[in-house]
Amino acid sequence: MDFFELTTDPIDITSVSRRVVPLECGATVTLDGYVRKFTKDRETLHLVYEAYEPMALKEGQKLIEQAKKDFEISHVAIVHRLGKLEIGETSIVISVAAPHRKAAFAACEWLIRELKRTVPIWKKEVFADGEVWVEGDAADIKTA
């Protein structure tokens, strides 16, 4: 029931969150991450996301497994969009279903923080006057 998916199509947030609603759950926390127009004073025209897809799928699954060990949650659904995204379009949805909301909020925050650090996906910001591949902080990546 858990899933981590990559897609170039627009993401339907409700359908993602409703795919993980088991009967023992009482709360689903869903993060809808979307494209911001202004970063400080700079205006973004659009974003482009690129992934190392087979590794991104593996790293995404690892995050889900770890979250289910560390938090009292039942199911996790993550969909990340790739390709060109316009302002306001959803780039990522993370839905965490749990018996009680507190663990779902905590797990959702942990999942987005870890995804930004470990899952091999990159974001290019395209501005009116140039473009830049954004670089994360990559602190303490676990290596084999």
Binding site: Y52, M55, A56, H80, I121, W122, W133, E135, G136, T143
Partner: protein, 79 residues
């Protein structure tokens, strides 16, 4: 031995390619590939680079094997 090296995002732009195959001495480790790349592509020299071998993050002293698929990329920025 021969390994395949993949690039994504910023590294693909900086190298001007998305993949190439290269020959290495038998006892090579991940850091040797980074050194080769930094020597060949000066615009990689001041970039923090991560390495994955066969879709797993590895440390710089990880020994490489014939046929390995490496990926060399800047810190990820999804979400």
């Amino acid at each position: 031995m021969k390994v395949n090296v993949l690039f994504f995002g910023a590294t693909a732009d900086l190298v001007g390619s998305r993949a190439f195959e290269t020959s290495l001495p038998e006892t090579s480790v991940a850091a040797d590939v980074i050194s080769l790349l930094r020597a060949k592509y000066p615009n990689l020299r001041d970039r923090k680079l991560l390495v994955a071998v066969n879709e797993q993050y590895v440390g710089e002293n990880t020994r490489l094997s014939n046929g390995d698929q490496l990926a060399v990329f800047t810190p990820v920025s999804g979400g």
